[in-house]
Amino acid sequence: MYAIVIGCGRAGAEIASRMCEQGHSVVVVDRDRAAFHRLSDSFSGTTIVGHAIDEDCLVSAGIERADAVIATTYGDNSNLIAVQLARKRFNVERAIARVKDSVRASAFAKLGFETIPSTVIVGDAFEQALGWDPPESNGPTENGG
């Protein structure tokens, strides 16, 4: 799989490194070159300095032939715009946005976009750790495809 990871924070660096370990081709995009230090030694992909919603940047990252776009910047809105661009403009098959705001995450999931509601997931994990009843619905929201 050819994947573009947007945002090289802790989450972005983690998923980018994991994907490399699984043998996928990965390009990581971040506005800040210094962010790439978070990538682990197992990262074998390439890095590009650029902005999440800059189409020129996405094209140079190879979005036209990407199988997946993973948007993990700190900004929910940037992530949501990035996945919309990926799906609608570049017909990328999988485009997933990390969205901290649970209301925004579910609203965009209903619109057909894949979202990872990170705050909800962490809340669920804490509940489980505390041994409370697992909630009925959690985890990644519905797939728009």
Binding site: I53, E55, G75, D76, N77, S78, L80, I81, Q84, L85, K88, R89, D101, S102, V103, R104, A107, F108, K110, L111
Partner: protein, 224 residues
Amino acid sequence: MFVIIAGGGKVGGQLARDLLAERHEVVVMESNPGKARALQDEIGDAVVPHDASEGRWLIDAGIGRADLLIAVTGDDEDNIVICQLGEALSKGRARTITRINNPKNSDTFRALGIETIVNATDLVMTMIERDVSVAPVVHLMRLRSAGLELVEMTVAEGSAADGSTPQDLRLPEQGGRISVILRDGEAVLPSPTTRLQAGDSIVLVAQTEFEEALGRQFAAPTII
């Protein structure tokens, strides 16, 4: 009409004043505490000091019964997502309008199927709002369906418009009307005899079918 304005800066604040003066119900959402407080001092309770793209605050502001959501924050991504979120949370009830700050983003956002876009500088937007009070909001949204375009053009040196007046150019007969001239950072309301200069930016309401012909008198037009 119940209107939620996302962004309490220069444009949002002015819009709120105009709408309140017209006795509309208004809520302004502004996440910057200083700006929110200043606006609260002026217009009172109608200010929610939070980020409009944060779902619970948009719900709290009353998006469920809003007729119109206007996103005029300084961030294009925020504006777009606020509009989309507003449409979703109001189940399509609220009409939405937004501003694009960076013209480079217009194509991108149009490609995402977002139609109600006003791409303008603060100055142009403020002028348009002051000029026609509440009406422009509706008009801006309906422009396209009414066969009109709001376009911004720059008078090129040596163009037909350079050194001419709107009267000379017979613009109204040709399906266009200049609503404001931006010259050296100042907005000038034109009269039929105002002389245009190279470098002027013109905001023009044009009948769609004549837009191209009109554009030839100035320069390549940029759709607002």
